[in-house]
Amino acid sequence: MPYVKTIPYEDSQGELKEAYNTMTKSCGRITNVHAVSSLKPGIMKTLMAYVLSVMFGESDVSRAEGEMVAA
């Protein structure tokens, strides 16, 4: 269990539910590493946008190379 409370999708509302829906749409799932910040949906949304920009934006560094660096 994480050290802090997390809000599951079933109990989410407003900005958090919107963030969860965006994540599901772009990643196919709600990952624990994002859900752990559910008390701060604004951070979740910003982080999600950052991840999409860095990992899925236009780049000559391929997706596989990005994953090599991240792993």
Binding site: M1, P2, Y3, V4, T31, N32, V33, V36, S37, Y50, V51, V54, M55, S59, D60, V61, S62, R63, A64, E65, G66, E67, M68, V69, A70, A71
Partner: protein
Amino acid sequence: MSATIKCQYLTLAHAQALCGEDPESQLAEQRGENYHDAGLPPKRVAMLEFAEFLTTTSSAVTEDWVEELRSVGWDDADVVDIVHVVALFNYMCCVADDLRVDLDTERGWKEQSQRLSFKDVTAPKVFGKIAPMPESPVT
């Protein structure tokens, strides 16, 4: 770099994602733990050496590192991209480890985690004192 800083969650997440991108990847098979022994071409090894050094010793980076990347075929925009990938996942590792995020077990990570060389590394807090690092991340 997630393996470099011993973050189980991000190491497993990105080894799995790498496997999805390249099912033959030796680096994915050994969960990112030894890129020098993963049959990678010099261009990718240089990228990973840079990523490792940024992760462990960011303040000591000199232009020589960027020159080496250029010499193997990366351009300046690529270097910016690589630095942002490193920075992003250092951040994500911090979130995952500092809040003790559970592994996504439905993705088969529980079994994979048992094969990580750093699976048992922890540093319990002693109240009123800064707990020593179990092992220096700088090698």
